[in-house]
């Protein structure tokens, strides 16, 4: 019996060590992988000047987003609405979400400074959480049409409901220096 438990322990140890090592290995990389957060976004031209026409992000399914503090990056959805760009963070009321989406809590509690890399180009931004207002309807419509299979009234209403009850947080990726 003892040897069986010992073998079981080793079999559990291997994936646990592998997971921890993969996460550690990626933590200093230039950008995230699909599963693990990355480090500081380094490669890519830094955008300067006025904001671009963000409608080009309609053809971009995911972007890389890095907080300035802490310097960690992840892959995330992006929605353009009304000439501005927004990013979502879901599962925010679940226990798993509180662990998984720690970046959203950090962005909301901290200064919100971030760098986004979109199609290989970097943009310095400031994350501002949007909790209410008509802008959320436009964001919900874009989210439903881009990621939810279609901007049906039911899909939009479900997204608005998710925003309202705090299960999904929406951040505007505003220009640096925007008042929060």
């Amino acid at each position: 019996m003892r040897i069986v438990l010992q073998i079981l322990g080793i079999l559990l140890l291997i994936p646990a060590i592998a997971y921890a090592t993969l996460r550690f290995d990626n933590s200093s990389a230039d950008g995230p992988s699909i599963l693990f957060p990355g480090g500081k976004l380094v490669a890519g031209e830094m955008h300067t000047g006025p904001d671009p026409d963000w409608s080009f992000t309609d053809d971009v399914s995911t972007i890389e987003l890095q907080l300035v503090d802490p310097e960690s990056s992840r892959i995330i959805f992006i929605m353009e609405s009304g000439g501005k760009v927004y990013i979502p963070s879901g599962y925010m009321r679940s226990t798993l979400g509180r662990i998984w989406k720690d970046w959203a809590f950090q962005a909301d509690a901290g200064d919100g400074l971030a760098v986004a890399r979109i199609d290989g180009k970097r943009y310095e931004r400031q994350l501002i959480r949007i909790k209410e207002g008509p802008v959320l309807h436009g964001v919900a419509a874009k989210m439903a049409s881009k990621y939810g299979g279609g901007a049906t009234p039911e899909g939009i209403a479900a997204s608005v409901q998710s925003f309202g009850d705090g299960n999904t947080w929406i951040f505007e990726m505003a220009p640096r220096g925007t008042t929060r």
Binding site: I17, A18, T21, D25
Partner: protein, 44 residues
């Protein structure tokens, strides 16, 4: 196995896994792809 031997085996296995992932090219990509396939197949 005696406890001391078991702990030595655990440390050796942990080191072998970590070093393989960190220093053998392709191992980390392979493991991550495998994990991703597993999650996309089972996370419903």
């Amino acid at each position: 196995m005696k406890t001391k031997t078991y702990l030595v085996v655990c440390v050796a296995v942990a080191l072998a896994v970590s070093i393989s992932i960190l220093y053998i090219p392709g191992v980390s990509q392979y493991l991550e792809q495998t994990l991703l396939i597993f999650l996309s197949t089972n996370a419903r």
